[in-house]
């Protein structure tokens, strides 16, 4: 498995996209810290990078990589290698390179300028979201034979999780604001990994606001041992389940 992963990594490094991604993140993060008068604003901008750009790039890059390495996958399939192993090697290779790109691009500036609980939670959330959206992208690409359709699906998924889902939640919460919706909200948040990541960071960043009103309930839940276990557990499920489904589909796929 590691052997295959090595070749996947080698291939990815040659394409230079990940290097460009790393540089982009580095320049942007560094820029935020340099340009903004105060750290909180820079961190806020970084938050948007982590919640929006990282999932998007993870998805697009993974899908394109998958279709570009179709030949490689085909070649491997005629070798005495199991399909699951091939797909997992691809996943490991892609996520490893994206995570290293993220950790260098965002991690290093954060280490220098904002090495505190907010910075660390930002990095953790970024890594988790990279893994989750890589996993989702594999599912999307394995499901559709056609490159355009695969990328389309990935984009749609991203759009859904980044924007539409929250819009729906907002709509639901607003229209049922006369009822106690806090518990429902907790459940709803589990169905969107971006939300989970955001809440995870918010617990560090907006702890003051979270202590008010219903916020205290969220803080109490997500801040407690159980809540952290819940968040981490659901995040793991978000990594594992799409990849599991992808492996299952890939296993029975005609090539």
């Amino acid at each position: 498995m590691l052997k295959l992963t090595r070749y996947v990594l080698y291939d990815i490094l040659r394409s230079k996209i990940v290097i460009a991604y790393t540089l982009f993140l580095f320049v942007v993060s560094f820029g935020f810290f340099q340009l903004e008068e105060n750290q909180s604003k820079a961190v806020l901008s970084l938050l948007n990078i982590v919640l929006i750009v990282v999932p998007l790039i993870s998805m697009i890059f993974t899908t394109i990589h998958y279709y570009n390495s179709y030949e490689f996958i085909e070649l491997m399939l005629s070798q005495p290698l199991s399909r699951t192993r091939i797909l997992l090697s691809e996943f490991t290779g892609v996520s490893l390179s994206l995570i290293s790109g993220f950790l260098i691009g965002v991690g290093v500036p954060v280490l220098f300028f904002s090495f505190n609980s907010i910075g660390i939670s930002l990095l953790l959330a970024g890594v988790a979201l990279t893994l989750i959206f890589t996993s989702l992208a594999f599912l999307a690409s394995v499901k559709s034979r056609d490159k355009a359709r695969g990328i389309g699906m990935a984009l749609l998924l991203w759009f859904y999780f980044a924007l539409i889902y929250d819009g729906l939640v907002l709509l639901i919460l607003f229209s049922f604001s006369d009822y106690p919706t806090e518990k429902l909200t907790l459940v709803l948040s589990a169905f969107n990994p971006i939300d989970l990541g955001r809440i995870f960071i918010m617990l560090q960043m907006d702890v003051s606001a979270l202590m008010g009103y219903t916020g205290a309930l969220y803080k109490e839940f997500f801040g407690s041992g159980n809540g952290i276990l819940f968040t981490v557990g659901i995040m793991f499920l978000w990594i594992i389940l799409p990849m599991f489904a992808a492996a299952k589909i890939f296993k029975n796929k005609d090539l």
């Binding site: 806020l44 948007n48 919460l173 960071i201 916020g215 969220y218």
Partner: protein, 410 residues
């Protein structure tokens, strides 16, 4: 200044006239009660090291009670320890332990009734329901005391420093924790609360009512259950204080209720659920404060008018301003807002477009608090951006017309 004068008077008075009575295990007089009995006005009583369990002691003549080597007066959890009345009494350097609790009376470690010219200095008060309780007292000083309560519930504990119906008081450099309210002011006028540390009290760090013409300056209020409440008063100066980590569903840096003609200047509000919550307040000048990392920097209810917010710096607050009304009866000018995205073409340091500190999302959260879970989401950002482009729900006239580009130098 009149304060140093008073203190000087007391000291001169104590030293100039009167004898010195020493109380201690090996001294001729072994109990404080005895010493008080035999003391004449103006005498000095030196209380030597030791534990004294003498129940309630009443002092009604001008004496100078001076603890040497941290003597302990123990109330054995059933007595009020010292009761003072009259004038020119000094209590210093004594530890008061275990003053009793009663649901009928407000037992205190030191209670002062109907007095003037009292100085309570450098004492330590532990495990008392009320620490220092003063009623109907004028011209007195509570300074450099350490008052540590036991953090019981709101009903079971009393206030650290409790002043009722007093005038011309100075509360300075005390540290108070673990009480119901750190400092409690009711009907107290022309007084100053200065450089105190009020932390981890069950309810308010400072509870302030019906008290006009007072100032509180340079205090730190941290981690109190509900922050600071200033109510039903006018002509209050609040300057150079530090409000920190007052967290909770109804915790405020400052809660202002029916306050008028007051000043809130040069304070720092950091990591409070709400920096300043104001209702029914008018003609308050709120300037040169720093609001940093609060949930809501300001909550201005519709019942407030004619207040002005100027030259404050707002950084990293989840929400800058929230309101429940649509009217803009207050003025914002020359503040620094880290969320401001305008420009300054003529480079005069002032933004060329107004800043609307009430965001759409702040309005939404006000109506439907559970939407707080969506904070910082892309959806909310879009919502705010859209609202900025076409204001429909947020109060359009509530704006800072001259926001500064760089933080105000404070």
């Amino acid at each position: 200044m009149k304060w140093p004068l008073i203190i000087l008077n007391i000291c001169l008075f104590a030293q100039a006239s009167g004898n010195t009575i020493t109380v201690g295990k090996n001294a001729p007089i072994t109990t404080l009660r005895q010493a008080i009995q035999i003391a004449n006005a103006g005498d000095t009583i030196l209380l030597q090291k030791g534990i004294y369990k003498e129940g309630n002691i009443l002092i009604s003549k001008p004496v100078f009670l001076f603890g040497i080597g941290n003597p302990i007066l123990d109330g054995e959890n059933k007595n009020e320890i010292l009761t003072l009345t009259g004038k020119n009494i000094v209590i210093t350097g004594i530890q008061f332990a275990n003053a009793g609790y009663s649901s009928m009376n407000d037992y205190a470690a030191i209670k002062v009734i109907d007095a003037t010219g009292i100085l309570i200095e450098k004492n330590i008060i532990t495990n008392a329901s009320f620490g220092v309780h003063m009623a109907n007292t004028i011209n007195s000083v509570i300074r450099n005391n350490q008052i540590v309560g036991t953090n019981k519930s709101e009903h079971l504990s009393g206030n650290g420093i409790h002043l009722w119906k007093c005038d011309q008081m100075l509360v300075e450099s005390n540290s108070i924790s673990g009480h119901r309210d750190g400092i409690y002011f009711e009907f107290v006028t022309a007084s100053t609360i200065k450089n105190n540390q009020s932390k981890k009290n069950v309810r308010y760090g400072l509870h302030f009512m019906f008290s006009n013409n007072d100032a509180y300056l340079g205090n730190t209020f941290e981690n109190n259950g509900a922050g600071v409440a200033v109510m039903y008063s006018k002509e209050v100066r609040m300057e150079n204080n530090f409000f920190h980590k007052n967290w909770g569903a109804s915790a405020y840096g400052i809660l202002l209720k029916d306050i008028s003609n007051s000043h809130i200047l040069n304070n720092r509000f950091v990591q409070n659920t709400v920096g300043i919550h104001m209702e029914g307040s008018s003609r308050i000048e709120i300037g040169k404060n720093v609001f940093e990392s609060n949930g809501w920097a300001l909550k201005v209810q519709a019942s407030c008018d004619d207040n002005s917010f100027f030259n404050n710096n707002f950084y990293g607050n989840s929400f800058d301003v929230a309101t429940n009304g649509t009217m803009a009866l207050n003025r914002f000018r020359g503040n620094y807002w880290d969320k401001y995205e305008g420009y300054d073409l003529n480079k005069d340091g002032t933004g060329d477009v107004p800043y609307h500190p009430v965001s759409m999302y702040a309005m939404v959260v006000e109506q439907s608090p559970s939407t707080l879970i969506l904070m910082r989401s892309f959806m909310v950002t879009l919502l705010d951006k859209a609202e900025k482009a076409m204001p429909s729900l947020t109060p359009e006239h509530l704006a800072d017309n001259a926001p500064v580009i760089k933080p105000n130098k404070l």
